[in-house]
Symmetry: C2
Subunit: 540 residues, 2 copies
Amino acid sequence: MNPQTQIKRKMELPRVPGSQKTYKAGQLFADIRVPFRRIKLSQAACPSASTKEKYLDLYDTTGAYTDPTWIQSGAETIPATRQKWIADRNDTVSQIASKIKTALQAKTGRNVSQMHYARRGIITPEMEYVAVRENADPDFVRQEIASGRAIIPANINHPECEPMIIGRQFLVKINSNIGNSAMTSSIEEEIEKMLWSIRWGADTVMDLSTGSNIHAIREQIIRHSPVPIGSVPLYQALEKVNGEVHKLSWDVFKETIIGQARQGVDYFTIHAGLRRDYIPLTIKRTTGIVSRGGSIMAKWCQIHNKENFLYTHFEDICHIVKTYDVAFSLGDGLRPGCIADANDQAQFSELKTLGELARTAWKHDIQVMIEGPGHVPLNLIQENMQKQIELCHESPFYTLGPLPTDITPGYDHITSAIGAAMIGWLGTAMLCYVTPKEHLGLPDKEDVREGIISHKIAAHIADVAKSHPLALKWDNEMAQARFDFRWQDQFNLCLNPEKAQRFRAAAIEGQNMDTDTNYCSMCGPKFCSMKISRNLTADK
Amino acid sequence: MNPQTQIKRKMELPRVPGSQKTYKAGQLFADIRVPFRRIKLSQAACPSASTKEKYLDLYDTTGAYTDPTWIQSGAETIPATRQKWIADRNDTVSQIASKIKTALQAKTGRNVSQMHYARRGIITPEMEYVAVRENADPDFVRQEIASGRAIIPANINHPECEPMIIGRQFLVKINSNIGNSAMTSSIEEEIEKMLWSIRWGADTVMDLSTGSNIHAIREQIIRHSPVPIGSVPLYQALEKVNGEVHKLSWDVFKETIIGQARQGVDYFTIHAGLRRDYIPLTIKRTTGIVSRGGSIMAKWCQIHNKENFLYTHFEDICHIVKTYDVAFSLGDGLRPGCIADANDQAQFSELKTLGELARTAWKHDIQVMIEGPGHVPLNLIQENMQKQIELCHESPFYTLGPLPTDITPGYDHITSAIGAAMIGWLGTAMLCYVTPKEHLGLPDKEDVREGIISHKIAAHIADVAKSHPLALKWDNEMAQARFDFRWQDQFNLCLNPEKAQRFRAAAIEGQNMDTDTNYCSMCGPKFCSMKISRNLTADK
């Protein structure tokens, strides 16, 4: 089976109705083509309508899979958008990565991170690309990268990646987790989940596979992904020692991160902040340590009676990742696993260490974000954000939820979206999704979509609360379409147009589905408040 | 067809698994039996577990429909819990309400509102009932009612109602809207929606029917409902004049509220705060007036060039409702219908008037809550709550959402839950649910459940954020069950145990569904963080 063929076929099916791919050019670099999803809007049904624009361009994460030109081209791989940019910088060399492929690496003594360029005053094509994508000034992007307040995760071995930026001055992003466990899933399923994720708007995807065959799964995911791919190298390192924690070592870990960096992983979760001294702080917790990586490293520390080797070897890790531009996502191994454990000494001790590690990484011009909780009640969320900004020197925050209650298995995507919207508004740069299966099992395709959409909602609500002009414009187009009874435009402006249209069709079953029916089906034709209000306005 | 028989059969089916009905007695009154849903918890699988209690009692809104004694009794109606209490007060008389029935009314010169008793220092059985329900002191309940900070909606003609309290010192409540429109639905369907609502935890139900046959529908809903029923009398008044707004008058409205008060409606939405002078403030809005009642009254004011008759006759309304103890839910006819219109002059002008009307109602010892928006971005929610407390003198706030974005038709239950959790935490006493069909059509049964559960989540998250002991206890039991791998207890503690169990079963398909399998299916047996963490703790 040819996976590319299979994927193209699948991706043609779920294109978002009522919109089409469009590209915008940059000004500094000739070959920059930034994708958008363009929604065509009809002229207002009512002559008094204030809609002047006839389309709305939205941020697009779907890559070539929704580009008709690419679909028709018969190409077997997605475009390597960044290949020429990387080559033009002339600071990399090709090395043999395995029996069948080569990988890029920085020339000896060079540093290929976006932060490194930014600090030297260089605006890269990647920076202009995200500037066009976010309607920002390219030099502002550069400054944010240089200061550490934002990152562009973009491994030089992932040229297929369409650059995106994570930072609180930009649109709030969301991450989707995929990956098999020891128990389930195959390569095809995981690629399908990745594609399904970007189809619904995931900005990055983490491969959390822990079972067998994970190297091959990851390779296929990266080659097919137009969004950055993150991983937790510790899981593969543990596979290499047959799951026996005491056999983990710096050497095994080092070999693992080199292998993954050469594949093109864009960011690594590294649980280097869980210091040995913090472990006793978790003993009185209700749910102890709930991070997989955290519990593994805690166990290792206790068995060997030694400091966490990810902490002691942190600068060694820095020397490796900067030659590929892998960004750090510093893991919160001691995040609270329930409301009762939120904001405790264990959590904040680790956070402080993560802030120190961020400074160490920045010495090497390595891009860093910080992972955050977890389970936190609404009244304690703000303290998390404040402490992260203070202790981690404004590096981007990347949170899992947080979930503001423990009692909602089966609906944790909603619970997480509630905490995520709030912390996103307060300054978190990226939200890790949670699916309805959280705490119960691994998500299937349907769960992935529900998880993504609920967190797209949270991210957008955060953008609106931060008065981001692109977000406000979207809401405004919807509001105007609603007041004008432009039903088709309302559907097209939805996160899931087909679902909205199906719901409306069910509501007015048996009638003609007229696109400009001048009432809504909640009130019926006689009492429609919008209709009455329109007429009030028209009377004036 | 006998509707009772039908309902009993239906309500036996969806009893919450893993729990059973239990009752707690009061101390002041002999016949108080307050229902709870008792979840039996197994002994901890692990000897180090800290669980001492073997059950958790949860607030229960399902009435007799989940009481095996009542189900087996063959009774055709649900118990009239309050009948004797009302009779014992000896301040009512029975009057002919229609050809087939009588209704209670206060004796001449008497006031039968809970606020009236509270202000005279009387603790009623209703007050003790809610005190037991909320684990509060009965005299504290009385004080909250007397001050206007809380209400017990309980019409003397709705003896089937199990008393509940709405106020920010108590558990946050949720309301479910049902009701047919001109286009759809029947009596059976509406009763089924009401029962389905309380099955999933609705604390009150509003009947928003606007079509034909609404008087008969309401009668059946009230007679079958153990929770307070709210209505918007204006809709029926408009039906009486064939939907012709200009024919609306105080006389038609008066007749309507008397009719509904005699049926037993527990609270009325009255759009008396929309004063004529505020209408021009809505002209420049993006979506004008989106409240049905608001747009109807605005139209009436414009046609007649007169002040809103609900405002001018407000004291007349007070004289009527206090003889039945119908509570006011003062409607926000000028609530914003989109983000762009939030917190504008029209909205806050009306809110100020609602506060003045609350004072007028309190002169008559009438219980009052204030309705709130609507569509509000997260960053403007706090101002809504602050202004409501200030302008409306701490009367309970009852909000619709708010929705912090406009772009999510098909998922507005999630969007609304996000705004609702936040405003609930800040002090809103009751959250009106929004279903996935909002802005698209009327909800079906599945939508009602999703709307209720998402807002139960929001209300609970608010309770947790306010550190309500009953809420924290629930979370704590879940967290401990999770850490102990007590899977069956986890399911039983969920809002929807069957869904959680189904998800888990799918996740571990092909294996034995062991209730104390010592790992979770996200990580698999080898990497389970909880398992590793447990062992860490045990090693100490």
